[in-house]
């Protein structure tokens, strides 16, 4: 099937009324959680995972994807108006976006964020559409050794990109793998680390872990300090950027899109890194770098394009290899599995309607987001005025009900509380939870592929270095580790981490 007919199939799926509704609900909720500080796309997707069970797989995954790229749009609103990032990928938008708002240019800043996101999001889907089929043909040749090494590389990259100490990030990844291995061993049927608890035989659920580490922990951390929000203006004026704004933003939009897409594809990269990298590049390339930090529209256009393009790019490793490059995609993998689908090289041939349906829904979703964001800014501002004292009990309630509904077990609510406390302590002690969650999802696959590779090679460890793809992945993983440990490079990594924090 060529791309045009595949896309035609995709649109025939995405334009079905149920899928259109799922897409709308997804992008609406995504924008809402993007706007609201204190709840991010990860928590929202985990929360809605059980809700998607009642519909078709396409509808469920279209909704979950919509939440992700929708949150990238919504996050900028809070950054610009309140100077608090709605979600992590919008941190840099605060710098110039809020300055623009203080100078009475909130409208063009919001407009550029929405339009820039639309342009980059759409371009990323086109690139996804062009790259994914050829990569998936290449991925069919992957065996257990290649998958194992690729997952090691993914975890190493995420640990490398994580703020602070690499040892702590790798420790988190190890804990994640151990947690992922709890339950019955798939090969020997032996129970592992279950402490004679029946509830643990099936392992720990992804939803309670994610809701605890990201939802409850975020609330506990926010409760520690009194949150004060100052909304710059409720009247944002015209949203359309001026001709001069467009001239200044054309370069940053293009560069942000390309950079964001490729960083999104890399395991461990994703939207956050992409937005920071784009801001740094634009500042360096600018003829007037002194304007950055004082309301330069390039500082909004570049990072917003980059984070949306990264959100699109992140679908590639999941769709073609079945390996999630970041926590959000790990959750989406969970959604695929719940619906009995296995993303990977064969998905495009076995379930073309799912793959192309999602791609087509992203085009529709991006248009919906543009239509939704421009006129609904006023509504988002009103949402932002809701006090945190009212919001956090409601978020907590949704966490509890969502977690219970995902497994129909009270045990999961207690697990969520436990991971909430752990997540809170991790933040206190400077341990990032993202590598833990990714490793938690990859853990069982990693172990399975390691054991299969060893059985197939009759115990020859050289199999990992004799196969070219596997060897390349392991070499890159080693490079990452060396780069983090070598004093010169470690110092540079530290600077990036400090910039991010």
């Amino acid at each position: 099937m060529d791309i045009v007919s595949s896309l035609g199939l995709g649109f025939s799926v995405a334009l079905q009324p149920t899928n259109l509704l799922a897409c709308f609900i997804g992008v609406f909720i995504g924008t809402l959680v993007g706007v609201l500080p204190g709840i991010g796309p990860v928590s929202a997707m985990a929360l809605l995972l059980p809700v998607t069970l009642s519909g078709s797989p396409e509808a469920g995954i279209i909704m979950m994807s919509g939440i992700y790229y929708g949150s990238m749009y919504g996050g900028s609103t809070t950054s610009i108006l309140v100077n608090i990032p709605g979600e992590a990928a919008s941190v840099v938008t605060c710098i110039d976006g809020h300055e623009m708002a203080k100078q009475g240019r909130a409208g063009p800043a919001l407009g550029m964020a929405a339009l820039g996101s639309f342009i980059a999001g759409t371009a990323a889907i086109i690139m996804l559409m062009l790259v994914a089929p050829s990569l998936s043909r290449f991925a069919v040749a992957f065996g257990p050794a290649e998958y194992f090494s690729l997952m090691v590389l993914g975890l190493m990259l995420l640990a490398f990109m994580t703020q602070g100490s690499i040892a702590k990030a790798l420790l988190m990844a190890c804990i994640g793998i151990v947690l992922g291995l709890i339950g019955i061993d798939q090969i020997t049927a032996q129970s592992r680390l279950t402490f004679d608890k029946l509830e643990l035989l099936d392992g720990i659920g992804l939803v309670p872990v994610v809701m605890g580490l990201f939802g409850v922990a975020e609330i506990l951390s926010n409760l520690e300090k009194a949150i004060r929000r100052e909304i710059v203006s409720s009247n944002v004026g015209s949203l359309m950027p001026t001709r001069e704004d467009w001239q200044r933003s054309a370069g940053p939009l293009t560069r942000g899109t390309v950079l964001g897409f490729f960083l999104g594809v890399l395991p461990g990269g994703g939207a956050v890194i992409a937005s920071f990298a784009s801001y740094a590049i634009e500042k360096r390339l600018s003829k007037t770098p002194e304007r950055f930090g004082k309301g330069a529209i390039e500082g909004v256009a570049g990072p917003e394009a980059a984070n949306n393009a990264a959100a699109g790019g992140a679908f590639i490793p999941l769709m073609t290899l079945g390996i999630p490059p970041n926590v959000v995609m790990a959750l989406l993998l969970g959604a695929f599995v719940v619906h009995g689908l296995q993303p990977g090289p064969l998905m495009m041939t076995q379930n073309p309607q799912v793959f192309w349906g999602i791609v087509a829904s992203m085009y529709i979703g991006n248009v919906m987001l543009l239509v939704l964001n421009m006129p609904l800014i006023g509504l988002w501002i009103r949402v932002l005025r809701v006090r945190y004292a009212i919001l956090f009990p409601l978020i907590l309630m949704f966490c509890i009900v969502g977690v219970f509904a995902s497994g129909n077990a009270v045990f999961d609510v207690l697990i969520m509380t436990l991971f909430g406390v752990l997540g809170y302590l991790f933040r206190k002690f400077g341990y990032e939870p993202a590598p833990l969650v990714l490793a938690f999802v990859l853990g069982p696959m990693l172990e399975n592929n390691l054991r299969k590779a060893l059985i197939l090679s009759q115990g020859d460890l050289m199999t990992f270095v004799q196969r070219p793809i596997s060897a390349t992945c392991l070499a890159l993983a080693t490079l990452c580790l060396l780069a983090a440990v070598l004093p010169g490079l470690a110092a540079k990594r530290e600077v990036i981490a400090q910039d991010q924090s």
Binding site: T188, I390, L414, L454, S457, Q458
Partner: protein, 168 residues
């Protein structure tokens, strides 16, 4: 940030109070447990790895990584344990965690509606207080809204608890 030139000794008070030190020590213990659990489950052979094979090696990696965190804490002890909580509203965090644990145990026997209503009211009235009537209206609307959405619209079972005779 400039690194301290002087390396602290293990007995140094800065190290003993350091959050990095205690964090490293905790993970060292967890790593040791994982190694033990891996061995206990059986390592198998290299051409046929057992259930404990991966756990054992990951445990060893954890031991090495936590040892490096410990060593780093001697070089730069970082923030003390107490300073992590000084000036914060930690009592509120403790209250919310206690409420969640209590909720977890009461949820099934008492039911979603009474438990969640109580949880929301306590959170809105005592943790970060708002008007009691606002708290009451929001709690009632939210709890009954969630109940109706999940059980009626999405057909997801939620525990009715003591209200089972009325809710069916």
């Amino acid at each position: 940030m400039a690194r301290r030139a002087v390396v602290a000794l293990p007995g140094d008070k800065r190290v003993v109070r350091s959050s990095e030190f205690w964090g490293g020590l905790f993970w060292l213990a967890v790593g040791a447990f994982v190694v033990w659990a891996g061995r206990d489950l059986g390592l198998g052979k290299i051409n046929d790895p057992g259930s404990g094979f991966a756990l054992f090696w990951i445990g060893l990696l954890m031991l090495a990584l936590s040892a490096s965190v410990l060593v780093a804490s001697f070089r730069s002890p970082g923030a003390s344990l107490a300073s992590l909580w000084s000036g914060t509203r930690w009592a509120k965090v403790l209250l919310v965690v206690s409420l969640l644990v209590a909720y977890g145990f009461a949820f099934e026997p008492i039911g979603l509606i009474p438990c969640t209503l109580a949880l929301l009211l306590i959170l809105m009235l005592f943790v970060d207080p708002i008007n009691w009537w606002t708290a009451f209206i929001i709690s009632v609307v939210a709890v009954f809204g969630v109940w109706a959405t999940f059980t009626k619209a999405l057909k997801i079972q939620l525990p009715a608890g003591i209200l089972a005779p009325w809710l069916g």
